[in-house]
């Protein structure tokens, strides 16, 4: 557990951290995000004391880190930087075993760690262990950068925009890999980025900072639903705007439906169903108001006894009004009351229907943005 207790830092007269307090739980994946100069990297670096705060304290597992030996503290915390920073004079194997060697692990143990680590990212030992950093791609180098941070099994790993210099494809692969490794090894990770997609993709908790202060600390869902300020909205971009107004039935209903008049004959209605490939029809009263529905099942059962559909019309299907929250209709469908919800205008005429497909489409719009 990491605890920031009223931490401040100034460079000259310019405050970079202004009375920052927060808590990070064990095994949590926390992403620090915000515009450049907001203090996110400074916050990160106070955790391994690459930067010493002017005021306040940082505690790890209840222990005040300013009282701990700097060098020992850093050996117990993994650290990954944007420029990767693999030592060019060392092979992959030597780079991974830097911290284990500093901790004076014996050779056999170091070698075992290197094997385990490379296995974690599916890079065969024989192929990669003796390569130098310059002989690998950027993505492979940063994988090794992550492994170097993990090698001595620190409970906490700090990552300072680790994928900032990688191409988008490699970045998304590495994001997934790091997330998988974090869950598997149950690490506490503090991750700095300025990319909201990255934050939403990886974080358990997002801490949004601006001008040296925490503006909002929330889960990705909470932040999407209730961004605290306009600045956060901007960072979220389109994703939030889609969500702002609750959707009404009108937004999600489809207006292509098949209706018939209550005075029509049974045979006629069956023909219409067959032609259109549907198994129910909406039925209108002579004054165009909604009368109910008629289904092919009922017609099969009782149809021979009647000439007109009037007797077969039911109002079993759920109904809602056009300006009601779409959520109500979704709930009715989800509870299994019929296959669709009939949407009515306030004058009781038919406006449209909401089907399960409408729900899927509405959800897709929320997740991927309004594609059409």
């Amino acid at each position: 557990m990491i605890l920031f207790d009223h931490v401040s830092k100034k460079y000259g007269d310019k405050p970079v951290l202004n009375d920052v307090s927060f808590e990070i739980g064990s095994g949590e994946f926390v992403v620090l995000i915000g515009p450049s100069g907001c203090g996110k990297t400074t916050t990160l670096k106070t955790i391994n004391r690459l930067i010493e705060p002017d005021g306040g304290n940082v505690f790890i597992e209840g222990e005040d880190i300013s009282q701990m030996d700097k060098v020992k503290l850093r050996r117990s915390i993994g650290y990954v930087i944007q420029q990767i920073g693999l030592f060019p004079n060392m092979t992959v194997e030597q780079n991974i075993s830097v911290v284990p060697k500093l901790l004076k692990y014996d050779k056999a143990r170091c070698s075992k760690i290197v094997h385990e680590m490379l296995e974690l990212v599916n890079m065969p030992y024989e192929e990669y262990a003796h390569k130098y950093p310059y002989e690998m791609s950027g993505g492979q180098q940063q994988r090794i950068g992550v492994l170097r941070a993990l090698a001595a099994s620190p409970p906490i790993v700090l990552m300072d925009e680790p994928f900032g210099a990688l191409d988008p494809m490699t970045r998304s692969i590495l994001q997934d890999e790091v997330r998988r490794i974090q869950r598997k090894l149950n690490k506490t990770i503090v991750f700095v980025t300025h990319d909201m997609d990255e934050a939403l993709n990886m974080a358990d908790t997002i801490i949004f900072m601006d001008a040296g202060q925490i503006i909002q600390k929330a889960t990705p869902e909470e932040m999407l639903e209730n961004p605290a300020t306009d600045l956060i909205c901007n960072f979220m971009g389109k994703r939030v705007a889609e969500n702002e107004a609750p959707q009404t039935a009108e937004d999600v209903m489809r207006v292509s439906f098949y209706a018939t008049s209550i005075s029509r004959g049974v045979r006629e209605s069956v023909d219409l169903m067959a032609r259109k490939g549907v198994d129910t029809l909406l039925v209108k009263n002579p004054d165009e108001t909604y009368a109910g529905t008629v289904s092919v099942k009922d017609i099969k059962k009782y149809g021979k006894e009647y000439k007109k559909i009037e007797a077969l019309v039911t109002r079993e299907n759920p109904v809602c009004y056009i300006d009601e929250d779409a959520q109500t209709s979704f709930d009715m469908l989800a509870n299994g009351n019929g296959n669709y919800v009939v949407v009515l205008n306030r004058d009781e005429t038919i406006a449209g229907i909401i089907t399960r497909t409408s729900i899927a489409k509405a959800l897709a719009d929320v997740v991927w943005g309004d594609s059409e």
Binding site: L50, I81, F87, T91, Y134, R148
Partner: protein, 212 residues
Amino acid sequence: MIRFFELYGKRLLTAVGVHFLYVVVSVTIAFVVAILLGVLLSRVPRWARVILPLLSIFQTIPGIVFVGILFLYNGMVPSTVIIALTIYAIFPILKNTYVGILEVPDEYIEAAKGCGMSPIQTLLQVELPLAMPVIISGLRMSTVYTVSWAVLAAMIGLGGLGELIYAGVSSNNNTLILGGAISAALMAVGFSLLIDLLHKLVLPRSLRRDAL
């Protein structure tokens, strides 16, 4: 040619031996001193900005003047030559050590600190190894210069290849002059090749010139 070796062979061999010793001893001492000083200066770049230009001015004092002055104080002993050569050999290595360490990109220093290396571990495991190509090229420069400066040893009667050259000049014996000069040139080339070999043996393939 054969007559030359019959006549001067033994003298040449002694001269080459003495010359070689002067170079090896003074460059070795200079290398150790220069690296220590270079590391110290790299810790306080503010001083280095004053000290290095001063040293480079000192470097422009002709060797012959310096050997002469040192001779007055120290007398006609081999240590006079060694001290003079060492002092001259220090500067190229010192400067390259300092520059080499300062040129190590910040990201590696930050990574080293972040991994939990103490300052001395950072120096030994990251800064010096990364500066090594530059340091070795300083060593090459120093060694080649020292081979030629060592000729001055003969000026105060302390042997080396310079002795043949001076003897040749004073007795108008061109063969003797050429014998000394060519040997000195060959020695410089030899040292240079030796340092190339050292470069290959000491540096990992990632730091050799062809990799960078």
